[in-house]
Symmetry: C2
Subunit: 188 residues, 2 copies
DNA sequence: TAACAACTTGAGGGCCACCTCAGGTTGCTG
DNA sequence: CAGCAACCTGAGGTGGCCCTCAAGTTGTTA
């Protein structure tokens, strides 16, 4: 079906993804596409040959990063204590989110009619994430009614908090701490 | 210094504010200014005569609404129980925020380098708000270290949650409940 | 190496919102 | 009511970004 790309085409595509990754990560997913093309050393036309729109480019950039979620979640499941597994998973995840404006922006901008495939990607890793949640719930340390949609909302709200933290991790950590205390079901 | 406006100028200014209030409230603070002018029955040039930029218009629209905060806060202080005073204040405030896209948008978009004077306005009512906080803290029902900046962060994060709730108040109420549980310092 | 298809190029058209300003209109004052 | 300032008007300039496409270039296959 899909015949192999010509050598130069493949090279250009890789350069484009690399340039987009850099710019999206640093300045958000709103950077003019001309700038992405220029940084890739390629014409704007070529960019559009490979990616019909901005969303396609974002979709090409994000999945790599989302893969890290799997590792984080696996690590969390391996932890002895379900609660600390759950919390370190969240802290790790938001650390990643705070370090990469592309991710944070994608979450912020994924307004109700989400344009890109981020939700789909999140669904992919959803299985593992659901495991982390389930383990904490079953152990009775997480509110029994805390579901994936609650986590989704937390991610979105934290994206906003992170954007306001301006690089100071302590700021969003503090806020996250409040919420975690709120969803903790253990005995104090 | 500032001599009184001419009669027609005053009328136009009022019409502009009214039109902007309607449009901002319903469709967010991003509506094209041409549309605001048209709805006010005034030319775009007149709009710029009165308000040099969008921020000035927003500043003219919001303060009315922020005034309601004072009433809410006063009501909260009048409540017998400091904790229920605190929580009903917050629920009331976010209800207002959920009902008015102008407010919610202004909060969401007031990115770190905030353009409009919303923060200043919040500071104005800040005295009363600080009272509500202080009362709850002094009564030992609110974390002793929960300050105004924490409240500010909560407001911002809730703005995001509200935007995602798409009119379903139960959604943001649920999330707010988590956070409130987290900052509650009473004995369970 | 010929010859085709795949790919690239970048000027340019479209769109939309922002904002200006020269000229016309209107309230106001004496 | 004259005459001046204050005010209004809206066509049009500006800028940014989006996206297209006809013409040129380059990899590839035979």
């Amino acid at each position: 079906m899909t015949r192999p790309l010509r050598a130069d085409a493949l090279r250009n595509r890789e350069r484009l993804v690399a340039a987009a990754t850099e710019l999206f990560t640093g300045s958000g997913v709103d950077v003019p596409l001309d700038r992405v093309a220029k940084r890739a050393g390629v014409s704007i036309g070529t960019l559009y040959n490979h990616f019909p729109n901005r969303g396609a480019l974002i979709d090409a950039v994000l999945p790599d990063r989302v893969g890290e979620l799997d590792r984080l979640a696996a690590h969390a499941c391996a932890a002895g204590d379900p609660w600390s597994g759950f919390t370190t998973f969240l802290y790790g995840m938001f650390e990643m989110q705070a370090a990469d404006r592309a991710i944070n922006d994608a979450i912020l901008q994924g307004r109700p009619p989400g344009p890109t495939a981020v939700p789909a990607e999140c669904g992919r890793g959803g299985g593992v994430v659901e495991q982390v949640l389930g383990r904490a719930r079953d152990a009775g340390v997480l509110r029994a009614d805390f579901g994936p949609s609650d986590l989704g909302m937390l991610v979105r709200s934290m994206a906003q908090v992170i954007a306001w933290s301006e690089g100071d991790d302590e700021v969003w950590r503090r806020h996250l701490g409040f919420v975690l205390t709120g969803v903790w079901a253990g005995r104090s």
